[in-house]
């Protein structure tokens, strides 16, 4: 935050960085060939829903847009225990570019309506042949990715996560600060 914003105590919430999401399709190919992780055909956006009528209206708009495609299955809307809303989008596992477009549509609508500051993260789950699951999490405010591999209740496979990070380091901006690899237990799609 800038010096004057600190002095005057008027920190504005940081706006989300949306562009890096389009680098995911090529990274998905790398994960597939190098680590044997297949996209599971879902993707989720996690955001903070604001109180009031305007937000409810925006959310309806988003769901209506995503469901307008006759082939697309229903969008699942869930609330987590931290008060964040998750929108789970389904797509053909091979069409990861389409999935990213869907996620991007959610982000742009939220941002157009002035709720872009409430975007927390986006999650694209991958699955290995042996059943291990890894979510590629995109942090909107930092503009970076990190892997999240839950193995059970409140347990994560750190070795696999670091492995995925090393595979993707050349393609995606990976989060360097391990403190920010926040666990999203019970995230839809994982």
């Amino acid at each position: 935050m800038s010096f004057w914003n600190s002095i005057f105590g008027r920190s504005t919430p940081k706006t989300a960085n949306l562009d890096a999401l389009f680098m995911v399709p090529s990274a998905a190919i790398t994960l597939q060939t190098a680590a044997g992780l297949e996209p599971s055909g879902t993707g989720a956006v996690c955001f903070r829903s604001a109180g009031g009528a305007a937000f409810a209206q925006t959310q309806q708009e988003i769901v209506a847009l995503l469901e307008a495609d006759p082939r697309a299955p229903a969008v699942e809307v869930t609330q987590d225990r931290f008060g964040f809303t998750w929108l789970l989008v389904h797509r053909d596992p091979l069409d990861i570019a389409g999935l990213c477009t869907d996620l991007h549509a959610v982000n742009t609508i939220l941002q157009d309506q002035g709720f872009g500051t409430g975007l927390l993260c986006s999650l694209i789950p991958f699955q290995a042949a042996d059943g291990a699951k890894v979510g590629l999490v995109y942090l909107y405010k930092q503009g970076t990715f990190y892997p999240f591999a839950p193995t059970g209740p409140e347990r994560r496979d750190n070795l696999l996560e670091l492995n995925v990070r090393d595979h993707l380091a050349a393609e995606l901006p990976m989060e360097k600060d391990l403190q920010r690899w926040l666990a999203v237990w019970g995230a839809p799609g994982l």
């Binding site: 109180g51 157009d112 666990a183």
Partner: protein
């Protein structure tokens, strides 16, 4: 075209700038007058005063944690609290502060530390019992805004004039005559005494004025933290209901239990003293009505249907 729902409060910024300017002018006036009256030892007092202010700021996290008998908790001990702060920090794009819990029945929370990288957010067990998850998150967002705005630094700098003036006033008890008068060339009491009395009087005035100005600034900073916190969580109503719960309960707690925590008042979310005299002028926190009014305005802006 993306638009922001953030409303700039120009009035608040202007009032705060004026207050900070007045505090700065007060400090300069005090130092210049002291330098003029006494050429020898007087600057030492100023340096010591600034040194004390610096030390308060530098070790604010440790001192505050000790004063509140708080202990740091790990993510394993308090997963919910850490999860909440993790998410807020990811939303605000700021480094995660350390997390402390104080075993106290007063429902309260504070944040302190010399910089955002070395800060502590601390909650009492009372607040964990009193508030629900949504309200607690509003309170934590308020505290994180204090960290982001570097309020400990701002308030320490703002109160340095008061600290120096307070030291000079107190020096009367410890033979300040010798300290100030000793270096006068005409070493008779007649020359030193009036100058010292002027300094004493001036310090008293500066101390009194700076007391009210720092309290005023503190109230403005609270309003700013409320605003930034409400925009971060996008749920002003949750913070409003938390404030109502906290201040409602605070008034019910007897005065005696609260006195021990008075040193920390400026950094609390709601003041731990519920006195009534001179309340509006000398309180560190704005009135509940003012805070609720601001939160209601933010709620209205967030709920307004967009273009």
């Amino acid at each position: 075209m993306a638009h922001s729902r953030f409303i700039k409060d120009r009035g608040l910024t202007a009032r705060m700038t004026l207050t900070m300017f007045l505090l700065g002018a007060l400090f300069v006036a005090l130092i210049v007058t002291l330098m003029y009256l006494f050429s020898g030892y007087a600057p030492i007092i100023g340096v010591i005063g600034i040194g004390i202010a610096f030390y308060q700021w530098w070790s604010s996290d440790k001192v505050a944690m000790r004063a509140m008998r708080a202990r740091e908790v790990t993510p394993e001990e308090a997963p919910e609290l850490h999860g909440m702060i993790d998410r807020l920090c990811a939303l605000a794009d700021m480094p995660k502060p350390r997390v402390g819990v104080a075993d106290m029945d007063i429902p309260n929370a504070f944040a302190t530390g010399r910089s955002p990288n070395r800060s502590v957010v601390c909650v009492t067990t009372g607040i964990l019992r009193t508030l629900n998850a949504e309200e607690l998150e509003g309170v934590l967002a308020h505290e994180l805004s204090h960290v982001a705005h570097r309020d400990v630094l701002v308030m320490t700098v703002a109160s340095s004039a008061g600290i120096v003036a307070g030291m000079i006033t107190q020096s009367a008890q410890y033979g300040g005559f010798a300290l100030f008068g000793g270096n006068r060339r005409d070493n008779n009491n007649g020359g030193a005494l009036p100058a010292y009395l002027i300094a004493l009087l001036l310090s008293l005035v500066v101390y009194a004025v700076s007391f009210f100005l720092t309290r005023l600034l503190s109230r403005y900073r609270e309003m700013c933290a409320d605003r930034a916190g409400a925009y971060l969580t996008m749920k002003p109503a949750a913070l409003a209901s938390a404030l109502q719960k906290i201040t409602g309960e605070m008034a019910a707690i007897p005065q005696k239990d609260l006195r021990s925590s008075s040193a920390m008042n400026a950094f609390f979310i709601a003041p731990a003293i519920s006195g009534a005299s001179l309340k509006t002028l000398s309180s560190t926190h704005p009135s509940l009505e003012q805070r609720l009014e601001q939160l209601a305005r933010i709620q209205a802006e967030l709920g307004r249907p967009g273009a």
